[in-house]
Amino acid sequence: MNGGVKKKNGGKEDEQDGLSVHSPCKAPNSSASSLRKEQSQVDLELKLLEALEIYPPVKLQGIHRHFVLYGLTEYMRRSFNRQFSGSDVLQMLDRFYNLEMLKPDDEESGILNQVEEFSLPPSYFTKEES
């Protein structure tokens, strides 16, 4: 009687027809939309992989990981013009990388590797503009 999509039923379960929501005799609409979903999932992943050129996964384990993740997340946000959280991104990455296995290069920490007394730049002590 109604193979049609009863989305207008709101939160009601579609049990009344004896058909489950995932029944294959759903109207073509839904298969088209799930196709679209797959497509956008692919788009997301492609974008993510593109982003990794700038923000290499290995840096997601080192001292800079939060800023690298920030960069990655912002990249995705701007590409799709929608919200992403850091954990969304990490979850997506999980499909491609086992992040725990990555070891960051020690040299990458730069000045954080050597003890040096703190000092203010000379310009702080003079009145000249820098």
């Binding site: 840096k59 001292i63 990981r65 912002e74 703190f118 730049p121 000379p122």
Partner: protein, 329 residues
């Protein structure tokens, strides 16, 4: 800062490196010990004549400018000390062997020389740190994005392809350094802080309240209320700052006079961010431009990061009277 070595090293420097015509009577000047030693030119380079230590931070000439570098290793070749240096913030592919005459101690005077050369090149230094803008890397692709905005790049659309973006960077004639602008009253706070510790021997009393963790939390709350929206990116940045703070504090954020206090206060696995407060957090912002280049951050993303830092500093400034304290013996 090995100021005490500067003078004696200059004398040594004139003694260590032989002239090109070894048999000429010494065109060297001054130093009585030189006159005594007519075999100065044939003196062996040895551990006493080594000017720079392995691991030491130095200033190095490269092309027309001076860059901050680190001595990775050293050797005697042809009776001269040679130093293998790494330019800080640059790819390892730039590492090279140099003579001592290309290196200088990292003193305030030499930093001024560095800034002078920067000015000559038409580059504005920020916070006393030189910008590092070499136009090409060996691969033709910039290995690190420094705190640099390329004027005229299509940064607003983001970079589409790697080779496109590197071509853009190589073509831009003018590059701007984007530093971290610390508000004037906070700069004064830092100078006062320096004075208390170094001139008056007064240290901050630990543990501090509010501590760094508290301050970061308060800022997050303040932002959530103000923006009334998801503050996920702010959270990530704050986590990053906390991470840097805990790592950086004992390494680059302390005056030597504070080291004993540090050892006494930080025991077991206590995190610095739970003990120290605004005074030391502020010092992190002075060092941030030197820490961040090791992260690849693109043009306008960098700008939004800059803006976030500035927002945070403004918040600190607002709360200056309650976050920062007078000092204790």
């Amino acid at each position: 800062m090995n100021k005490k070595h500067t003078v004696s090293h200059e004398i040594k420097k004139r003694r260590v490196y032989p002239r090109t015509t070894p048999l000429m009577a010494s065109s060297k000047d001054d130093s009585a010990t030189d006159a005594d030693d007519s075999a100065a030119n044939r003196r062996r380079a040895n551990s006493n004549t080594k000017l720079f230590a392995d691991g030491e931070r130095v200033l190095a000439y490269h092309g027309p400018r001076i860059y901050e570098a680190k001595v990775l290793k050293s050797e005697i070749r042809k009776n001269d000390w040679k130093y293998f240096v790494h330019y800080l913030g640059w790819s390892k592919t730039w590492d090279e062997w140099v003579d001592a005459d290309r290196l200088m101690k990292k003193t305030a005077e030499n930093i001024r020389k560095q800034q002078a050369l920067d000015k000559k090149q038409g580059v504005e230094p920020k916070l006393g740190r030189s910008n590092q803008t070499k136009s090409k890397t060996p691969n033709g692709i910039p290995s690190y994005c420094h705190l640099v905005l390329s004027v005229g790049s299509s940064g607003s659309k983001g970079k589409k392809r790697k080779h496109e973006s590197s071509a853009e960077k190589e073509n831009t004639a003018v590059e701007k350094v984007v530093g971290i602008e610390i508000p004037q009253t906070l700069k004064k706070q830092l100078v006062d802080d320096w004075g208390f510790v170094n001139e008056q021997n007064k240290l901050v009393e630990l543990p501090r309240s509010p501590n760094v963790d508290d301050i970061l939390k308060m800022y997050l709350e303040y932002r959530s209320k103000k923006d009334n929206m998801i503050t996920d990116s702010v959270e990530e940045i704050l986590k990053g700052l906390r991470c840097y703070f805990d790592r950086a504090l004992p390494v680059i954020l302390l005056y030597d006079k504070e080291r004993l206090q540090y050892r006494e206060s930080i025991k077991n696995d206590v995190s610095p961010s739970s003990i120290y407060g605004a005074e030391h957090l502020l010092r992190l912002f002075v060092k941030l431009p030197e820490i961040l280049p090791y992260v690849n951050i693109e043009g306008d993303l960098l700008m939004s990061l800059q803006q976030e830092f500035l927002d945070f500093l403004t918040f600190l400034q607002k709360k200056q009277s309650s976050f920062f304290l007078l000092y204790d013996e």
